[in-house]
Symmetry: C2
Subunit: 531 residues, 2 copies
């Protein structure tokens, strides 16, 4: 790509010259490994942007593959990646923008250039899509990064025909987000990711709980509740009831997966629905809302409250640590109110105020656009959807929403809502600023729906009298956070439901056993050593 | 602070109520520890902002200290801190904004409220300031965080009267910056910080080099060169010559410490000047510029090239990976050109284009303001001086420069400079945007001044013939980066000048010895274990 290669010697200029360094490296690798090891090369065949200096699959990439075809045993091809200094996220594209094997056309364009097998990623999770990609001859080897993160046993499950047990990647890219946050990787779907050694969690193996004779009531079938009930079921608890006031499980996922472009996030629910249906000891109880009395008299020995969170209607927000004056006006909406009518609220011009920075405000803007509204987004962050720089979504979200007419006003705080106008200020300057809109959506912060938990907890004698031996809360109902964190929370409680104090996580295994994990022995050793 | 405490029970409302939780905690701590342990409490006595709901030293803090005075053995007092969701950096204020003990007036305001001793931080590095603070009765105990990071032996050096050996904190806050970056702490002044165990580096102890009979020529007396020569001197190399073409040592620090408000950064040079002057085996050779022939015939056995970097004049920059058209016009300046005339360049209105994000563009804007210019800052970042959010400087820099009339245009790329105007675009939208200015300062990126190194390296036989056994490069001349990283680089080479391959850092000690470090044995064991 002459955009970056400005050499004027034999390594710059013509394609042959620009390919020379790579060719020489691969030649030397071949010489070094001989017949002992296959040699491949990851190649971006198309940079997917409008820049005239970018690589095009049918042009330079085609000729490049021809030049190097005798050197590799197979090719590892993909499209997209870093464009100058920005990670636009197209190489590991979020499900918001594309489905499985979205780079297909670029691989097809170079297929005739090679007589070697081609491996390609494409967030493959569906065995049918994989089989079709192979049978059609476009590629020869399925590569999977994110799908393996969500389910490291993906290949084995396909081999054994256990298709309905595949824990499918939802394409949220929370995994990739952790690089930029300097934090260990996590996965929305797979709570065991990164916990294999330090907590001794195998992704597919669950030990029988030592208190398996007990019965459990899980109140709330959102991400934390579903995961907790599923893992408790796999650990053999005698009876697990998963209650929800809605007519199906899913909790907040039901509304979120109905946001524009987030349909694949529904896999959080469908995977768990299928697994829960297989567990004879778990019963889903829909359309049921219990008050404290109902929980007390339900007959369960362990009660897990997973009643979630709601967006605050008063505009309470982090940047000012205050509610927003006038939030009680009837033209001011919460995200739940907007999504319950699919954006069809009163008024033509809607201002979305976002102090959250993640997908909710984007969902609101897109839902309102789809409902024909004119949309302005106001945010104290320096960019809209700032958390999405971590997930590789922010670049396209910012560009595409602008292209669709959304006005974005960064670096401003909203402080007062009146029927005559909206008042606030630039975060760097004291002068007041005014805006006009017919309606306002407040995406500020969520609050736990923990009244039931606190009511039950206030009377320990009454719990004891009714035979309730333990009361826990998990997920957003403890503290509003990401879906991944809530699923982890439900999983963690169920994995440790038979420890001395399930409310508090066990310490990490301090000495990492690289070969096999004998968790109990390691914990005992850690305890014995006095630390 | 009623801004955050909205309780209506006995823990909210009046000051007595709001203090209750804290008082009860300290009471219980006292009961728990009895006479076995002193009890103190860190208290922010003034929030230092204009918010009418903030804490004022003379008001609520005074009464709060009276309420709790019987409970503590001494007080740990400071001012400033988090204001709502932003870390304005006033609690660990950068030297850009304040000198030693800048919270003095707030401590003085509460002094009469207590009969107990007071400890306070204040980036104390000067024994005279400390003595005055104690003698005046304002405080009783000197607390030091950043000064201890820069020199963990600060108290011992004072006790022993070794004042000129104190490695004074420069108040750059690069240490604090690492929290937000999710990276291990570093210090501009103290290269051994965080390396005590994993590299076995004691801050004050240096082993005699096994090649101590050799002679060394260090070309370039900037941060990397000064540090390298100093550590080589302490390791007993027979003769170390530190050359510079300027009339004194310091390199880039000389210009940087002349930027407005960065005077304390000059301690990088003064500390090393004093130590170098004490080392009989190190000679500083100023006013000397050597070409390759001069180096070859100098007579040294080891040559270290530390010739630094320069700002590119062509506008080459990260965001577009391209130079900027028209950068060759005579009204376009580099930072070195601007600072060489203290901002007194031609033209009334100057546009500073910043793709660097750190202190250089801030220095340019302030220097130009001081020279009476009207200043516009253009940057593709979403905020000006975006790296300074990590160092706690960005909030004040952004607010104060605006208040001084600097126009800040974030989220824009500059792509072409012509005498008729400057052209670019918003990073989120393709439409062209134009600006006018009389002069342009390009703060885009730096390039190594490595011609001398490459010329020497190209002829290994000639080096050998002249008796040069080793050639190294360090600092910006290898890769432009922070001052802390350059000092580390020079220090690292000198610490490892007698290893098998000084160009490459030794591996970390993999097993951490908590009691004593036997580095050689640990390295041998690591090597023997085959990893």
């Amino acid at each position: 790509m002459s955009k970056f290669n400005r050499r004027s010697d034999e390594y710059g200029g013509s394609l042959e010259n620009r390919a020379r360094f790579w060719l020489e490296v691969i030649e030397q690798v071949r010489e070094a490994v001989g017949d002992q090891c296959a040699v491949t090369s990851r190649l971006c065949v198309d940079t997917l942007n409008d820049n005239p200096l970018g690589i095009r699959a049918a042009e330079e990439a085609y000729r490049f593959i021809e030049l190097g075809d005798h050197l590799v045993d197979f090719w590892d091809l993909q499209a997209g990646g870093w464009v100058a200094a920005e990670w636009a996220g197209d190489d590991a594209v979020a499900s918001r923008f594309a489905g499985e094997f979205s780079h297909r056309e670029y691989i097809e364009a170079v297929r005739p250039a090679t007589r070697k097998p081609i491996a390609a990623v494409g967030r493959f999770t569906n065995p049918d899509t994989m089989a079709e990609a192979i049978r059609s001859g476009v590629i020869d080897i399925i590569a999977a990064a994110r799908p393996s993160i969500a389910d490291p046993f993906l290949p084995q499950k396909i081999e054994e025909g256990r298709y309905d047990e595949i824990r499918e990647c939802i394409g949220c890219n929370i995994c990739a987000s952790r690089f930029g946050q300097g934090a260990p990787i996590v996965c929305t779907q797979n709570a065991t990711l990164g916990e294999e050694f330090r907590r001794g969690w195998h992704p597919e193996r669950f030990t029988q709980a030592s208190n398996a004779e007990q019965t459990v009531l899980v109140v709330g079938a959102g991400p934390a509740g579903m995961e907790c009930a599923m893992v408790l079921g796999k650990r053999g608890l005698s009876a697990v009831h998963l209650l929800d006031e809605q007519d199906a499980i899913g909790g907040c996922i039901r509304a979120i997966s109905a946001y524009p472009h987030l349909g694949e996030w529904g896999r959080v629910t469908t995977y768990r629905q299928v697994q829960l249906d297989k567990l004879a000891n778990v019963e889903i109880v829909p359309n049921t809302r219990l008050d404290a009395h109902g929980v007390l008299s339900y007959g369960a020995e362990i009660v897990v409250i997973a009643t979630g969170a709601r967006w605050r209607a008063d505009g309470m927000n982090g940047p000012t640590q205050s509610p927003i004056g006038g939030a009680e006006h009837d033209f001011v909406y919460t995200p739940e109110q907007v999504s319950s009518v699919s954006g069809e609220i009163d008024g033509e011009h809607v201002l979305v105020y976002d102090t959250d920075g993640y997908f909710t405000a984007v969902g609101m803007a897109e839902m309102l656009l789809a409902a024909g509204k004119r949309v302005t987004v106001l945010t104290p962050f320096a960019n809209f959807a700032s958390f999405m720089f971590f997930t590789g979504e922010a670049f396209r979200v910012n560009r595409e929403l602008r292209a669709q007419g959304v006005e974005i006003v960064p670096l401003h705080v909203l402080s007062e809502i009146t029927p005559d106008g909206l008042r606030g200020q630039n975060v760097w300057a004291p002068e007041p600023v005014e805006w006009q809109a017919d309606a306002v959506v407040l995406v500020t912060q969520r609050e736990p729906q923990d009244a039931l938990y606190h009511e039950l907890r206030a009377e320990p004698e009454r719990l004891a009298r009714e035979g309730i031996e333990a009361l826990y809360r998990i997920g957003d109902c403890l503290a509003p956070r990401t879906i991944a964190e809530n699923i982890f929370d439900g999983h963690r409680l169920a994995r440790e439901i038979d420890t001395a104090d399930p409310s508090n996580p066990l310490p990490y295994l301090r000495e990492l056993p690289y070969v096999d994990v004998d968790r109990d022995r390691a914990i005992a050793a850690t305890a014995a050593s006095g630390s």
